[in-house]
Subunit: 200 residues, 2 copies
Amino acid sequence: MARQGLTPDSVTVAGAELADEIGFDAVSPAELARRLGVRTASMYAHIANAADLRARIAALALDEMAEQISLAVLGRAGREALVGMMNAYRDYARRHPGRFTAATWQPGAGDQVLAAGRRHAELTRAVLLGYHLPVEAVPHATRLLGSSLRGFVTLEASGSFDQSRPAAADSWPYVIDGLHTLLSHWNDTFPQPEPEPNKK
Amino acid sequence: MARQGLTPDSVTVAGAELADEIGFDAVSPAELARRLGVRTASMYAHIANAADLRARIAALALDEMAEQISLAVLGRAGREALVGMMNAYRDYARRHPGRFTAATWQPGAGDQVLAAGRRHAELTRAVLLGYHLPVEAVPHATRLLGSSLRGFVTLEASGSFDQSRPAAADSWPYVIDGLHTLLSHWNDTFPQPEPEPNKK
DNA sequence: TTGATTACCTAAGCATATTAGGTAGGAGAT
DNA sequence: ATCTCCTACCTAATATGCTTAGGTAATCAA
């Protein structure tokens, strides 16, 4: 038997590809071993266990996403940066559904995942820079942006929008422009001093 | 051995409680049987298989959520209805993390889940009624609202906001008011005829 | 009490996760 | 070339989970 020459990294990449094909939840040491033409037990030379395999794929996906978003934001500012970031995020999810699921999966996030999470937060903050928000508003705007983005893309990917007309893609511009408008008029929407915008 | 008097419904309820305690992903026929003081094989008298158990819990959660949201929206309109709905959704997720995970879980949604999904869409449309949006805008607004809501609550529940200050709860009013503002000024943000608001 | 129903059980087959210890493929040194 | 070491991969074995088939006894209707 010729050796496959597997390494932790190559196994992780293969796992990511497998996730895109059969779904992240279906990825397991056994399934991946089958795919790689190797016995299940041999996987344990490269990964610690099933959870570790999944965590590695998640970290890989998070890094790839951050990379794509970086490229899309580079050299842009304001609305262009926002559009670039949002589209990069959505495109990645559409191109790599399994990896995207992995990236949005957290149960017991390790250091790798936490670091990638911070990188994403950094990118979002960079995009928001172009909207000149008051400093205290940045965390809130980051979360609002992140929530809408992740929510839409997750729902679209899971097929939740398939039941209704028009196509999900037609609603995407509304999400982008809605966010852009909100960020552009932040101070009008949320009056400055001690913002306690919600009563009841 | 005294009988437990289990039924498909009581098993589903027990499964939902278990999900809130140990996480939806950890719920299985074996684990639930342990909890109920019954042999694993005995579960198959009440459920078809593991996927069926999970689907039942998901349907239960979806129904409970719709119920809570109905109560929160009843007799209210406009901003009050929006706030009621969003808070009901978020509160349910915080009170029942396992059930919430189940409700946002879809892989191969059955009839039950699809019906519940429609009920949720109905409720959202009802809330949007108070904003007097142009008819063509309703699906888009529904998705925008749904995305932000689900995105924020999911991220909050998964602990993604725990790493940064201020507390996640402090950002919640911004999500509510941001959505409210957007819905209130829909026609300003998205000019009427043939809305093709996003270019590049 | 009898009879029927059915909630629960034991037994068994098969798949996966994981560990322990063996074997051989291939790179580098001699 | 051949020796040697490393290690990628293997076989074997245990534990556990999912699922089906076929019994047993608790409960209810008559």
